[in-house]
Symmetry: C2
Subunit: 250 residues, 2 copies
């Protein structure tokens, strides 16, 4: 991330790339110990610090993990496969399930839930067709086995959801989409747009991830039968924790 650090910078990337390739070939499996910094320094004829940088790079990218005083190991944590289309099928939320229950059946916990009347940025207000001051947000963080993996902020027209279960912490079975259906505004179509970018400082802190690892930014817009946007959900996912999966007909 720092400006080019010259030949040492180049070398640590080279070492990290070699280790990554060995992991990809299956020479080191999940949980296996990687060569230590002294071994790598000798093998590549570089300073121990350079070898250490290579291991730190793999750790920052979520490929390796370190154990205090015991070196570096191939990450044994399996990423979540998020089934983008199945999970949003009406069969899912219409039957009272949580959306993420479609994701390989790995149960997520929610914390940092906050609901507030707030001012929407112009672009969000425009899509929801509301005055900027007329927005309500549901913010939350998702954790898997105690590890934060995703931040989400859903934007609604406060005039639509005020006084409904969407404006209180527990939305009930099937979540906000089932409640929008109760209001006669069931989502019938979704758009998800995806970018990879670095996290902001706040995002990196809340996701407990290093600032030099990318996040996946997913913006979902839910449309009702009249083509009106009923929710915009801006998500930020740790890129080491997620595989996004879309399956569809030709």
């Amino acid at each position: 991330m720092a400006p080019n650090t010259g030949s040492a910078g180049h070398k640590y990337r080279r070492i990290a790339a070699d280790l990554q390739a060995a992991i990809d070939r299956g020479e080191y499996g999940p949980g296996d110990r990687l060569p230590g910094e002294n071994v790598l320094a000798e093998r590549y004829n570089v300073a121990v610090m350079t070898a250490r940088q290579a291991l730190h790079l793999l750790r920052s990218q979520g490929i390796a993990e370190s154990r205090r005083g015991a070196g570096f190991y191939v990450q044994s944590w399996r990423p979540i496969r998020r089934r983008g289309i199945t999970r949003l099928a009406r069969d899912q939320w219409g039957s009272g399930k949580s959306i993420w229950e479609a994701d390989e059946n790995r149960a997520l916990d929610v914390d940092q839930l906050r609901i507030e009347r707030t001012t929407a940025p112009p672009r969000i207000a425009e899509v929801l067709e509301i005055e900027p001051g007329e927005a309500l947000t549901r913010s939350r963080r998702y954790l898997l086995d105690g590890r934060p993996v995703l931040l989400a902020v859903s934007w609604f027209d406060n005039g639509l959801v005020d006084g409904t279960p969407i404006a209180v912490p527990d939305t009930g079975p099937g979540g906000v989409y089932a409640r929008l259906a109760d209001l006669g505004r069931a989502p019938v179509r979704f758009n998800e747009s995806i970018r990879a970018q670095l996290p902001t400082e706040e995002e990196a802190e809340r996701l407990k991830m290093p600032p030099e690892r990318a996040v996946l930014r997913i913006v979902r817009t839910a449309f009702d039968a009249d083509g009106k946007a009923v929710e915009i959900n801006a998500m930020v996912a740790d890129s080491a924790a997620y595989i996004l999966d879309y399956e569809f007909d030709a």
Copy 2:
């Protein structure tokens, strides 16, 4: 990317984050000049080198571009919005169009086209249900306005495509999917799986991008009417060049 460089490392990220936020708020538009390193150094009371690191970080992430001797400017290049589902509709390739023509009508050029008989990694051979030695690949690089944006390697069963237009450079109207249809193996269903990771050295070189900016890895599998995989396309996209878009029914 280097291990924590202490408080200077923290500060340059803070400055970069502030500039990024100002760009997001629209205070600096595409092509606008950003404050110079001397101005930033004074404003934040840091060394000029620290201010420079902030600007280099924005450049490495594709948010700013530098002009020789003239400072840093907000990136004026607009990312490609890739319509994941529309572009693969049979209407598209069935009518003789290139798949990427659905992407906001921005014409891509192809270079580095290479077709070869090769050995497939075990996982690819398994999905294609072939012996590892029975694979044929089409590799190519895509450019927009001369800028490399995407690498792609498509894997096929050589026994299926040998002697067909899929095994020669020009596949004809509608590309490989139209030719698979000619062979009675039209794709009827697609799966795309997406991850964000750092590029390998070779990928960064071919995409002419800095090694500390993430790529989007997209693996598409095309299935025929019998549910057999007829193509696996492993793509690597510069994350600064692409927004991936999926639109689908509930």
